[in-house]
Amino acid sequence: MRALFFATLLVSAAAIAYEILLMRVLSIVQWHHFAYMIISLALLGYGASGTFIAVNKRWLEPRFDLAFAASGLLFSIAMIACFVLGQRVPFNALEIVWDPRQLISLSVIYLVFFVPFFFAACCIGLAFTCRKSFVSRIYFFDLLGAGLGAVLIVGLLFARPPQDALIVLAVLALVASITVGVRLPPRKALIAMQILWLGALLFGMPQNLLGMRLSEYKGLSQAMQVVDSEVLTASSSPLGLLTVVESPQVPFRHAPGLSFNTRFVPPEQLAVFTDGDSISAITRFDGDFSALAYLGDVTAALPYQLLSEPHALILGAGGGSDVLLALYNGAARIDAVELNPQMTALVRDTYADFAGHLYQDSRITVHTKEARGFVTQSKDHYDLIHVGLLDSFAASGSGLQALNESYLYTVEAIRDYVQHTAPGGMLAITRWLKLPPRDSLKLVATVIEALRKEGVADPGRQLALIRSWNTSTLLVKNGDFTANEIEVIREFSRSHSFDTAFYPSMPASDANRFNILAQAYLYDGVSALLGNDADDFVARYKFHIAPATDNRPYFFHFLKWSALPEFMSLIRRGGAGLIEWGYLILMATLIQATIAGAVLIVLPLSRVKRSWPHGIGTRMGGYFFLLGLAFLFIEIAFIQKFILFLSHPLYSVAVVLSGFLVFAGVGSAYSGRLTQKARQKERSPVDVAVAGISAIALLYLVLLPFLFQQLIGLTDSIKMLFSVLLIAPLAFCMGMPFPIGLSRLADGAPNFIPWAWGINGFASVISASLATLLAIQFGFTTVVLLALGLYVTAASISRNYIR
């Protein structure tokens, strides 16, 4: 049996690692919006395999070892094959508005990536079904494998590029197949295939076959089309794939918000692309500040006109552009915060000569930290806190960031920043300007809310907003703007042909003078947001510009369902840019998950004999459906919530997913004892478990923001450990209702068990996307409360049956 335990552990580790790897890879080749689709896919694989095994149990049971070994081998092959095939499906997320064929491609991608998870789940499911007497130990190794897999892939992604990590995972699955296969009477075909595949994995896998094929519309792909452009270095980690590109013939000249009036051209730059997009520039600097004169002519230079030799904090240093901006404009001291150590190393080490040894300058201190956590923990007060513009206009403009959680632009974040500005100091945020305005107004709304919460009676006295044709820079002062400062803002704007969009007591005639819009949208918008009817304005505005909060940190989500029909009708007359397509892709994913779940999980169950006591189908079907929804609602909400604490979506997925799996498993193992104890007290064990879930979840809703605030400055590994400890008791309780229901069915309606698995699997598949949609629309707290409601309903409809 040891061989089987070991093989189970390997398959389980490889499966969860592959899930996380795919999230990483699809964020690189496409955009972030695939992350929740992958969770749904993995669950679909598990659900469909459960049904497959239930339907074919009689045939599979006597051939267990062979079926396990074959599934392991197919899992290993499918991991590579689907990685290669999935990237070759011609899918263009940006074109989804125009071309219905893209929806078909999206479905094909979904089905292609389902295959490896199906085979992985077949291995685990077969072990459970055919080796019943060892179920608890198999379960233990399954869960241990999941936990180890998550740790393994994060480590692997630090050490090696994703393609190499993929090979390692495929080898793990193959070793699982061989481990079980060697116990079989020799089967030449199987052995030959295992040996051939091992050889292929270790020696014969062409690197270009495994190469990542980026969407040709990502910034990196576009840059590489230019004559003589060349990738100088590429470094990869879970935090992102950084690609440095040089383009000698057509140099990069990244200078968002540069004035039309400037006489200066940016010097030579290297472009750093994160995950193939989001350009950040490393600018050539040889100590001659006159070459940087263009940095005096961008909207982001405004705060430096108002502050003398400030101590500046740059959040999101990237390739160092904003550090140069601060230096050029006279900052006396600069603290630059960058999350990704590899990004810092590019400026500090690899291209130190090119960047003029910028990070060795005694005025500059570079901190490799997550920005929000750094500010929270900082004891300093800064004259200027500058939030860099690190996302690309293309991604921002096409609404593909709609699903990105961003804890940099929430009410709580702004409060943190404001609290860390010195008296008279400022917060400066530059954003891309869209028409009709979205980001800029949402940011103002968020800032106003933050200032009000800080006790500022008249936030309008502390705000100033200017705009160029494509950027807006918002200043939030710690104190009221003086008449003199307002004059500086006006003069800076006038001399650069930037428009003043707001400053205290600004007359309407001062708006919309240089870059003329059909209406003074920003001035009107900010004035309305500061007025008495602000709530009404936000409610009536066609885009979602209500403040982003830590509970609903979707700063880039602007779509209102009520406006969708109107926007759809405008698509062909220039209105395609009004809609965030990332959000609608999530909708499409939800619909295809529902169809795929119904076809692959529920429909085949019709072949299973249906004979169980009257009423069980509806009652227990509902029970398992609700559990499937509720479990994933909480899990997804926690993944999103822990991004704030763990600094990166991938860390959060790895920690939360494996934490929930492992401790739900422990809870599941304990569920038998709970049932016994509950019976002694004549209570339903489900009620007890649900009471535990509710108590802990409600406590966390109150406690987590406070805990995160206090502990965010700890090192990553300690934070991960702490996260697992936090998840443990909740997951422990959440692991119980499912096996309690199953064990009751085993006594009273065994034929319903495959249906219970199937219905639960189906609910889980749709729940991954549904939870994200609900979180965007209503916030995490609502999703968690909804999940508790589902748990309570499940407990109440099963109460008469489960005792």
Binding site: W98, R253, L258, F260, N261, F393, G574
Partner: protein, 238 residues
Amino acid sequence: MKYFVCVFLLLALTAHADDTDYASARMAMLTEVQNYAKLARDTDDATFNDDVMRALATVERHEFVPESEKPFAYENHPLPIGHGQTISQPYIVALMTELIDAKPDDVVLEIGTGSGYQAAILAKLVNHVYSIEIIEALADQARERLARLGYDNVTTKLSDGYYGWEEHAPFDAIVVTAAPSHIPPPLIQQLKPGGRLVVPVGGRFMTQQLLLIEKTEDDEIITRQIAAVRFVPLTGKH
């Protein structure tokens, strides 16, 4: 011999049928663009001017798209042309063309030749079009295509568009087909007094707005940002 005659006739008929199909599709596209102009323009003019519509009616868009996209050539939407580039939505092409207010004697600079479609439209309206492309494969294809289709008043080159085309400057109008992070100062310098520069702003498939830069006779710069779509009151009932 009979066989070859039959095949030739069949091909000729098919080709003719194709041309007819394309012509009728083109007319349908024009009607849609014009109708949308009436509905969506954020200017005083209710429709696009006749010259722009005539240019749109005569340029064969299907000649400017890859084989796989030909069935969709006259759809009023952008299409991929390879290399991460697109041929713009006809409605946006009409809007941009009208915004530069082209006149028969004008000399126009285009930054970003792409498929050559916008250059071909301009070629119908102005004296000469100079067009610069930075992607070699596209530059070659567009040059060959424009020559084959007889657009002899278009000159293309593979080069960095940032510095414009000094030897042919100044220009009556400049069209930049994809928005850079900033407008290159040399382009503004190469604009004639009274000239116009237009840039679509947004992603490849989603133009958000158009930037129109006008240089007055006194060399003063006035810029306007024009929404690609007229958004009915932003705070209206919905």
